[in-house]
Symmetry: C2
Subunit: 389 residues, 2 copies
């Protein structure tokens, strides 16, 4: 029997608005068709959040059709019908014989579809930053008359300004992230295994907050002594000890959207060095948030932070954050010196002040914020402190 | 201060053995250097499991050096020193200015390194199936004299036969996966939110089994009525109801290695159709496992399954499984008709018998197994039943 449509996180009008923006960009680039294969971009344009992107799939946006066509593995087609606003005729499942096949794969089905629709000898947008070199070669070889245009960041640029509906979802995600930080503060104790803390954090991220469950797990990083100078270790087989420090980064997820947060925990009294770094970073965080307003640049916000911590005798090598939305990082704006991206209302950023100063010493604090009409709304709201446990 | 070396999951000799196999393959392909950028392959060759692969990084294997050189983002270098067997001089952090930079990225640092080592005008292996088209173009443009050879599956082919040490780790991962299935059977009840079940499952996957914690979360999929015809939905905002069916897929993780399992749960008495499908699949599972032995082919195992369920009036379109190891699926052998890969001792597979028959109806069961000298060792061991709750 036919699968039913599930509840949609956004109305059809919202998706058509997003698609309309994509088609305007396609017109500027003089392309008739765009193949979107980045999973976050597919989520943005359809509502699809199932995790089938480990095999080829493509969303074909044509300037000549209202709805895009989603070409994916046959066994994933029911999820696409269920989760997205697309009419079922716009979901095309390719045969299972293309899986684990050394000669052909799902991109052959996408190319077949372009040929059938008469789009194979026109301007064609591909996301060459997300398509493997092997797959891009296949497009070129099988569509020798197409004029291929790299559109790697085209959809992401449009994603950078959220609608009010997206902001509602990101607030829900932020509340989940906050809840997980508070749960961590309850369970990080001497003698507890790191894995047991992560169990509680992950459970909180699934249970969610305010009656809204988490809908997925985003990355989470638990970097404890002697690993506080690292940033992307999940956790270790170790136990927490008296005097340990824990740098925690996590994100709440609602319908693909992530709000991220970082906090530092000290088991026992923090060292003087850690306390001074925390105070410098906290001051920098507040100055940076005060610099957020439409018309300011990413560079302005970053330099407000850098100047503040430099006055306190610290330095941060890495960027101060980046655009955030679906599946965490967006590949567009960075909060760094020289990024002249102008802030606009409803842009969202992860103000990421993790500072890995020495190989064996670092500190983290961050907030996810929205640019408002007149300043800033900080979406995450866990206490902005060095947690002493 | 310098970060300490952490406990390693494998001895140095194990990594050198793996590297030696890679170098033999490089000699066959007449290449001097190989840039490994697939994260699972980097884990295999170094022990690195930190999740920094969302920005460019590359492990440079040279035929002329015992240890490879790991070039990654500066702030991730301490994790590489801590987690891997590499001497610290073999870990090179590239500057943060290459992050969020429209003109240059981390692959420029990798290419610089190849030039410095005099490897830029020789045979060079790249993983073109994992490198974006944009990045591959950069290698070609900046190394016009190199003879580039696609080595996408070179390391994965070597990974396909595990050492006894790897099997030990996969058994630990399998015990974790089993524990999560048993926890699911305890908490799937009418009126419970799907997210609350996932909270318990994730917590179990972190806590681990037999004193060995999970070290990461792998994919998990909770596809409940009316979504049992789908396979890659994480979970929904829904609650479990009387009469609901739940198809669950998850994996335990130890040090990057995954063991996967699927089981089906019926809340209340299963329908006659579901029970008949379960019986057919269970019979097929047992026949397929009996067909496993060194010298048999992947095709033999798959056809043993297909023939059995066809006798019961069912059919499965998709493959019956695939090689499994680090980060779940390996891109080499598939348990499907026509895959003539010969089974060898210590190959490991996910015998994945998920069968999504209709848009709104499917069933799942699976095991992770090892090929032994004389037959099969099933690593997962949760009861092989249709759970009635």
């Amino acid at each position: 029997m036919a699968i039913s449509k599930g509840p949609q996180a956004f109305p059809r009008t919202e998706f058509l608005r997003r698609l309309s923006a994509v088609k305007s960009e396609m017109a500027k680039r003089e392309i008739d068709a765009l193949i979107v294969n980045n999973s976050s971009n597919i989520t943005y344009l359809t509502g699809y959040t199932a995790r089938s992107g480990y095999v080829p799939q493509g969303l074909l946006v044509s300037r000549h059709e209202e709805e895009p066509t989603f070409i994916l593995r046959r066994q994933d087609a029911p999820a696409a019908i269920h989760q997205t606003f697309l009419n079922r005729g716009k979901v095309i499942g390719y045969p299972e014989t293309l899986i684990g096949n050394p000669d052909k794969d799902g991109f052959d089905a996408v190319i077949d579809c372009l040929h059938e629709l008469g789009l194979a000898s026109r301007g064609l947008g591909l996301e060459l930053g997300y398509l493997s070199a092997q797959s891009a070669e296949k497009f070129k070889a099988r569509m020798p008359n197409a004029r291929i245009v790299d559109c790697s960041k085209a959809v992401a640029e449009i994603r950078s300004i959220k609608s009010d509906l997206e902001i509602v979802i990101m607030r829900e995600a932020a509340a989940i992230a906050d809840a997980a930080i508070m749960r961590a503060a309850e369970v990080i104790r001497p003698g507890v295994r790191e894995a047991d803390v992560m169990a509680e954090i992950a459970a909180t991220l699934a249970r969610g907050a305010n009656g809204k469950p988490g809908t997925d797990f985003a990355s989470m990083f638990f970097c404890s002594s002697p690993r506080t100078g690292t940033c992307h270790i999940r956790w270790s087989d170790d136990i927490i000890r008296d005097g340990s420090q824990v740098n925690l980064e996590l994100g709440g997820v609602r319908h693909g959207y992530v709000a991220a947060i970082m906090r530092t925990f000290s088991v026992g009294a923090p060292s003087d060095r850690l306390r001074r770094l925390h105070e410098a970073e906290l001051a920098g965080l507040e100055v940076a948030l005060n610099a957020v307003q439409p018309g300011a640049t990413c560079s302005d916000v970053a330099n407000a932070f850098y100047r503040t911590i430099e006055k306190c005798g610290f330095k941060k090598d890495s960027r101060c954050g980046y655009a955030i939305g679906i599946d965490w990082t967006e590949p567009t704006a960075s909060l760094k010196d020289g990024d002249m991206t102008e802030l606009k209302t409803n842009m969202t950023f992860h103000l990421m002040l993790g500072n890995w100063i020495d190989e064996d010493f670092g500190y983290v604090i961050s907030e996810t914020f929205r640019v408002t009409e007149s300043g800033v709304e900080v979406l995450t709201s866990a206490p902005r402190k060095l947690f002493e446990l």
